[in-house]
Amino acid sequence: MPSGAASRMTGFMAHLRHNGFAVGPGETELVLSALAANEFDVSAARLGLKTMLSGDRLQWSRFDELFDAYWFKRGLRLAERAPAKDSFRSHRPRPELWDKVLPPEEGSAYSNRIERGPGEAEEPDETSGSGRLIASTQDALMRTDLRTLVSPGDVAEAERIAERLARAIRYRLSRRRIPTCRGDTIDLRRTIRHNLSRGGEPIELRRKHRPERPVRLVVLLDVSGSMKVYNRYFLSFVRGLIGKWLQADAFLFHTRLVRITDVLRERDARRVMGRLSLMSEGFGGGTRIAASLKHFNDRYAKEALNSRSVVIVMSDGYDTDPTEALTLELKRLKGRARRLVWLNPLLGWKDYTPVARAMAAALDYIDYFATAHSLASLAALEDEFVRL
């Protein structure tokens, strides 16, 4: 293969890498050797490269577009819809982002948005907004609430609490037994095997026990207008829950649902917030819980949930979708997950009863319904989580 073509191919690999493909020198070599050994036309080469280089469904479906963009300059280089790793570097001069921001409207990404106080957060589409009114009028009463305690220490504390909680539920006993030195039952098969040299007399016993298997954790966080005041704590809480735990997934939703697992695993907290603010267009807008859950059920549930999953929904339950839709989606969700936990910050309010229609309907499917309005209430969850 002429060296010009090789360097073009290297450029193509860089182009793919820039768009989130996990391809390295090994793949480049593979591709070059495959191309060198062949007579081929464009469509065959495209198919071949697609098979060799894509790693999952998303990459598979984007490949053709990226291929055309690079080799035929179809003007799609800006097709980098998935935020590339360094795509928000331009927002770095916001050093106080993590400390002061969230509500994220203060961030440069939002400078063109009108800032609204929590009391005037109503949007025209809030038809069932009776709850929202409560949220605004009670603002003055909530001085001890999470939203007023804004210090970096509290945020860090929320993350620590979340990590403790996550540890509390990480493992669940399995039904299948595996061999160990000190198990609760005798492993007959291995005992016989081990004692073969003694003519099969079972002198030394082998044992087995039920191992702990990891629980999968899925967090769905409501970041709509009515929840805005809690977002900073909840985001760091979610980060603590899933940050170090591989079998966990986090999503945030308002009118749409966005997967944020990969973003939260970023080590630099400031970059996390930067990316989140970019991802959550519509932060602080209306809420469509049912539609978001439906999106989750259709697209992610199969992959994210199994019989040992705990789903945690953090929302105040003020939904603009019809109640029946929410009931249906919760039923589907419950069918796939083992436990459904709903954390509602409003529950900590004086005299709150879950009257929002959505919330009342949801109660049937929830295994554990708890408050999450203060750090103490978050910490108190630990005992309950152990029991789940």
């Binding site: 198919l47 060799m52 790693g55 469904r57």
Partner: protein, 295 residues
Amino acid sequence: MTFDYKPVQRDLAEAGYIADDGLAMALCLTIGLRRPLLLEGEAGVGKTDVAKALAAALKTRLIRLQCYEGLDANATIYEWNYQRQLLAIRAHERDAMPSDAIERHIFSEDYLLRRPLLEAISQPQSPVLLIDEIDRADEEFEAYLLEILSDFQITIPELGTIAARSIPHVILTSNGTRTLSDALRRRCLYSYVDFPDETKELAILHARLPDIDRRLARQIVRFVQMLRREELEKKPGIAETLDWASALIGLDVRSIHGDSAAAAIQASLICLLKTEADLKSMPREVTARLIGKVA
């Protein structure tokens, strides 16, 4: 190695499997590059059947490993046949055989139970190794599998290292119930198998049910294609289409139009719709509306 996938496509078609260009290319590369192929897609789009058809096309054995949670090395690679070993010890006790001879004897290959992975690498001719639903196995097993898939050799302490006599053609399938590790994805070629389009599905139907009436086949495929566009929990796959077609033939339905067929069709929808909610979402009227759209 070659990019020319047409012969593979033709061979598969002779084995009764209609593969589109993407899949044929993937198989062609798998054979050429000796790399495992990871197939993803909805249940029932024919991922498992690819392996069967490939084995038939290459005229080689198909060795299948069905994954499940808790699958371990004993069930996948090898195990000693303890009961037989025990019996052998008892039997040889009487004829005063020296003990080390007994030991050599009972740890010979006769007493080895070959599980799929060991079986696959000890074939004289490259077999097709199908590792089905890899997403159901634990992550530990996935890591172990990676090692075998890169070295193609297995070490048995009592016997020594067994190197592959031939490198199998490995096909892994996944339904996406768990995210697979990046390491595994990088090691494999990847192909996403989608629901077939109308032409392909019709071709499959004719390949599998050669006796079917042409007009009925077209109607069935149109109907199923439209059904997939409805809001369903579980969309019907190709296997379901084939089941339904056989059911309709069995019920002696000549055309899906007309009142006489309506009852039979409604009753046989259970071949296509596999959950209660889906069945409920397709009452007689909705079925009639869909049938009305089928030309």
